[in-house]
Subunit: 109 residues, 2 copies
DNA sequence: TTTATTAATCGCAATATTGCAATATAGTAA
DNA sequence: TTACTATATTGCAATATTGCGATTAATAAA
């Protein structure tokens, strides 16, 4: 049906899946890496850097913004996007918890 | 077009995105958590636990198996799925690196 | 004002994902 | 053998995602 049955899962599970989903595209990975490399903010040099159309990149930025990972400041005619460090560290902790805390010694196969 | 232009990204970016994609569904999160909680392997008690049809769960398991996160051992008539610890730790490192190594002090917005 | 420039949004086509009923396959039990 | 159980696979419908051209909105420069 193409429609995820989110009602049957916990909020935490839906949230985690949502975070992973936001990162589940190479363009968005590339965008984040690009933002991280520049010690300063960048706007849409991305359009030049990545081989994607402006509309496409704008959409990916929107998705990243919707999940809170990045935030944008209008600077004159262009927009400056940066990682939201608070959110970033929170996500890092969450993912780490998923990979660690829930992991019980599991030796069978 | 619905078709990700993976040619224009690095292998690493595509790989990372692929890992995130495998985890980008609450059912797959739930399946992994379920496997982790049981100190032993489980098969398709999942069909009872989660509210999804057998065919659907089998498909999610297949996806997790394809990315290498879990592996399945045939045990008589049923199949025992477990986390592949080697892969799991590798992924944990990779994701951690993504969230840490590439992160440069980034104070602007 | 007019003209660029930057970025967001709209609308569409192509493709992917999700979910499930039905069926197929494989092993066990009788 | 037949019957049963557990999984996998197939085929389909509904929905989501990806990508982009075209347009729009907003600001800057002339």
């Amino acid at each position: 049906m193409g429609l995820t049955k989110s009602e049957i899962f916990t909020e935490k599970q839906n949230h985690l899946a949502g975070v992973f989903k936001a990162l589940a595209h190479p363009a968005r990975i590339a965008i984040l890496q690009h933002i991280m490399k520049q010690n300063a903010c960048i706007c849409n040099d991305l359009v030049g850097e990545l081989g994607l159309a402006q509309a496409t990149i704008s959409q990916h930025l929107k998705e990243l913004k919707n999940t809170g990972i990045i935030k944008g400041n209008i600077e004159g005619t262009s927009v400056c996007y940066c990682i939201d460090e608070k959110v970033w560290l929170k996500l890092k902790k969450e993912l780490n918890a998923f990979f660690t805390d829930d992991m019980v010694a599991n030796k069978c196969c």
